[in-house]
Symmetry: C2
Subunit: 622 residues, 2 copies
């Protein structure tokens, strides 16, 4: 399998040369070749007014910290969902609910989104995400496309290889890219192998309360965990993760973490781990139940794999997992059945860091190495179970048969694809219609916007005889991974019911009032085209007057129960901002520390008299 | 002209009814009617790989605080330029330069962008913008698409009706939407007419230093200034602004600011104002040179106009200005020539707040009222000087002839357009090819993303016999105004030259070093595929070790001088984040107040070994 392993020192140059050689080809000529009215690529991606896109693409926004929602096939971006970073546009991070969720963090790095699943199919209810930057996990409700809960994941640093959910969303597993001493306390890197750990967290979600919870953790060796996938069908109690830096290098990883010929796939049985927790086979560490595999044996195994793998993906039928070799040109197909047998028989080649190591030969089914296909990273699947693997270095997607290893088709993409997202691609029954390549480099694809170029997503039509790039969409940094779900699976609400149980909500202008309690001022107000009412009985109902130093609570309910009539609320120079969607109540809390006259206004254009939807915050000096 | 003035109380319902009645029509049927291969709307907006868009659309991001850059005709969003709000994706607001520019503000409301002009034509060099939320002005360099300067505009509150530049970018005029006491000190609204003012700021830009400056200010009456435009050609020394709330109402503006049958256009000669400043005809107020028109006469006049106008737009030939009546169904065409004559003759009907009022009849040329066209807001122009006016309430764009008032064409848009942006539309020579309608409501146009819908921009083809909507693009909140510039006018750079004069920059790994001065630690490091080098001589060159409480300066230079190879730099759990574009040096400054082990990593996927581009910040406890 080791036909091509680049000399590490020359790798950077190699990548560039490879993209230049392989990147520019295919689609351009093919696009000009076909052009009957309804079969042009233009027609294929055009969704005229009155029609809707067929799929939602839920793309991570990478270091924007947010989620990006696209329509497919138009590749139009419909929405940014703020998740891990504040958002000026929607007041996310300003109103009390979102401010508390964000805590002290002002940015995030959202890598892998996962739609909730029922019986191995996307159910369209929730979307999970993790933050590599500040080690958090979040959940987005897909009735409203709003973030409902964020938790800090303790004892971990950079839960990169998450969130992937089990078949019925029992768990998300969050292993970490960076090893740190448990609890992140200071420890010299000379003590790396003894004191550092890569901790995996098993996170559950309570749908009723819309709350995430760390159920338990596993103290893995101090390696980097890159990607993971949950089993399906016959493998549904299991999950797999790739590792790199099993060398336990502490500097210059580019070279030092690329030494060993083999790293590992971590294979674990989460039902067994769950049982170990029930049986008390764990230690209590900083308030968490933590399994130390060298101490509490069972449930976790290592499978040797070609050096520094990146992706690992379970086939839709759940019988195999496929690892892609970042530094090896091959995809390796492993058999769950073989692995289970080897585990059953105790057929190990030894232990590493206290974890049994299965024999490569007894789990591996096939090594697949399409000619000149370089830098395989991630694999998705079509409706026939065929594999679609991104090639970062040779800038293409290769379609191949996991049953035979045969290469079926190839398509050039522009340039350097990381992940790809096929229609219903992570489910037990992919649709096979489209795949989107999430390319890391755009180079000269779009109008230039200076030294920093956009990323680029490309839509590939899988329905024809040959795969074909039919649309290119520039993207803000950085769509890292995405899932594509059939549009009719998402059931949104169009307005909120005014929450009568919420003491902060009011449902008519007459109830608007300002209550003072000592130096606290509580405003119960409404937004309705085209005015704010804070105090129904006042001479000026749209004015809030307070004393300097008062703590001010502004509870605002949007009583415009019309589709698409969102109101905003901003206070000039006070750096305050929130939105209220139709029927929603939101709260801003601040201390009126600056005396003076501060206009307040609706930030969301709502009617012909939107400009008139303003008032004043008057802060009397001390 | 007053054929249709809605009863104010029923206005909200009226708007909805009107959009329902007028909004759904035209384009859908027309789109399905035509379909020969190259003439379909799909073909018209499709830009295949290997080709580029013809125009840049520079759209304001409204309350996102940012600028959005689109390609036309594809309507693909290429870039978000962070301006008034921090940006997790690019580290804007974290590195020292952008952090200082943003000051204490964390959100903005960017309303009207303006491209710099030379001889009345967009010159593609700079882009100006103002912030309604926190009263700021900014400038973006279009070689790099980065924000270079932001100023707080003193004595003002909400510079909404800006930025529009004069013919050679001599000035931007920033009048304010909200009246406040000068300096924003506290004053009762009972004293509104005496103590409140709407202040207009004349801002200049020094290209060499890339610095904005408030040249002088004018203390206008306490009205709301809505939009402005600068003169051209024969009117190039002049500018116009619309007003509302000349009633000086202090509450419930929806009704109280809509009482008077006439508001005003403020017409002023900026050369004369400049001369008044030179002649000392101003007061010094809070450090600013301020003209009080009731005291220092000359240069400013009022032109009566139909109640509560919104937009005012100067024709490409500079001979006329057109006001659009938000609460009147008519566009009013005024003649600069007539206005100049009246000013010369002193033909006034009196004064208002010390400013001479011209006679409506002696300046007005024509009232134009296309049948059933409701809610005219803003006017752009085509290559033949024909006017294109958005109708907010009847949801359409009407093409009409300013010379005759004749209605030439109409096209339905979905729904409620605010501004529109024509190709080179604000210049002395519009291109006439496209206009983009910036719609405030999308309703059911796109896949639903919950109660809050995207905004919607629609591309209209002006080249055919009839105007036709050829593409709809959903938009994050909220593109308020945009300018469309021919792509070849923008000359970007592709990498930065490493700035040898910058003491923080280094150009090779060997120069990487960490210098300690007392409890200050200065890191001079590099980013290069696929590693960070902070200290060339250290055992671990990619590790920064400091003591708890140290003040840490990290100067990072991207020495990868390859197109599109941007590196990011994030520190886990420390909430720190910046980017370095190729050749760029950037600085992060922070106090290492948390002891422990914190992974640092490249946030911008840069190579096959990007995952390996990481290191550690070790903070030794006190």
């Amino acid at each position: 399998m080791n036909k091509w392993i680049p000399p590490v020192a020359g790798l950077a140059a190699g990548i560039l040369a490879a993209t230049l050689v392989f990147g520019g080809g295919g689609p351009r000529t093919e696009q000009t070749a076909t052009s009957t009215a309804k079969n042009t690529n233009a027609e294929k991606v055009y969704v005229p007014f009155g029609e809707k896109d067929e799929y939602y693409l839920m793309a991570s926004g990478g270091h924007s910290g947010q989620m990006f929602v696209y329509g497919v096939p138009s590749m139009r971006k419909i929405r940014t969902i703020p998740v891990f970073s504040p958002d000026s546009a929607t007041g996310y991070g300003y109103d009390e609910h979102s401010k508390k969720m964000l805590g002290d963090f002002t940015w995030g790095d959202l890598h892998h989104p996962a739609i909730s699943e029922t019986k191995g199919e996307y159910d369209g209810k929730y979307l999970f995400a993790t933050d590599v930057a500040n080690s958090r996990a979040a959940v987005v409700n897909l009735e409203t496309f709003t973030t409902r809960d964020i938790i800090n994941v303790p004892n971990t640093s950079g839960p990169h290889c998450a969130a992937f959910v089990t078949e019925n969303t029992e768990y998300m597993f969050l292993p970490t890219r960076f090893a740190v001493p448990i609890g992140s306390e200071y420890a010299s890197l000379d003590d790396y192998s003894e004191k550092y750990r890569g901790v995996m967290s098993a996170v559950t979600f309570d749908q009723e309360k819309e709350k995430l919870n760390v159920a338990y953790q596993v103290a893995l060796p101090p390696w980097s965990y890159d990607l993971s996938d949950a089993g399906k069908g016959m493998s549904s109690d299991w999950a797999v993760m790739t590792t790199y830096n099993t060398e336990e290098a502490t500097t210059n990883l580019e070279i030092n973490a690329s030494q060993a010929d083999r790293d590992y796939i971590v294979l674990f049985n989460w039902k067994e781990l769950e049982k170990m927790i029930q049986d008390g086979k764990y230690d209590e560490v900083t308030g968490q139940k933590m399994i130390f595999p060298e101490k509490h044996k069972g449930g976790i195994y290592l499978v040797p794999v070609a050096k520094s793998p990146h992706g690992v993906d379970v086939t839709p039928d759940g019988t195999r997992f496929i690892a892609s070799g970042k530094l090896a040109p091959a995809m390796t197909v492993f058999s769950f059945e073989k692995a289970f047998e080897a585990v059953k028989k105790g057929d190990f080649e030894g232990e590493r860091n206290g974890i049994p190591v299965l024999k490569y030969e007894s789990v591996m089914e096939r090594e697949v190495n399409p000619e000149n296909a370089l830098g395989p990273l991630h694999t998705q699947f079509d409706d026939k179970g065929m594999a679609l693997t991104t090639m970062f270095i040779s800038s293409e997607i290769v379609k191949w048969d996991p049953n035979t290893g045969e290469t079926l088709d190839r398509v050039a993409v522009q340039y350097s694809p990381g992940h790809a997202a096929a229609a219903e691609g992570d489910t037990a029954s992919p649709d096979g219609k489209y795949i989107v390549a999430l390319n890391k480099l755009a180079k000269d694809t779009y109008l230039s916007v200076g030294p920093s170029h956009p990323e680029s997503m490309q839509l590939i039509d899988l329905a024809g005889k040959k795969m074909e790039v039919i649309q290119s969409a520039p993207v803000d940094p950085e769509p890292h991974y995405a899932q594509m779900i059939k549009a009719d699976k998402i059931k949104t609400i169009s307005v909120y019911d005014i929450d009568k149980k919420n003491p902060d909500a009011i449902s008519s202008n007459e109830d608007a009032r300002i209550e003072r309690k000592g130096n606290e001022v509580h405003v119960y107000g409404t937004a309705m085209r085209s005015k704010f009412t804070f105090d129904a009985k006042a001479k000026r109902p749209d004015v809030i007057e307070v004393n300097q130093g008062d703590k001010v609570y502004i509870h605002l309910t949007n009583i415009d129960l019309d589709q698409d009539i969102t109101h905003g609320f901003g206070i000039n120079k006070y750096d305050l901002n929130m939105e209220v969607q139709p029927g929603q109540t939101n709260t801003l809390v601040f201390t009126a520390d600056k005396a003076g006259t501060f206009p307040l206004y609706c930030t969301n254009f709502c009617s012909a008299l939107h400009q008139e939807m303003s008032g004043y915050l008057l802060v009397k000096p001390k």
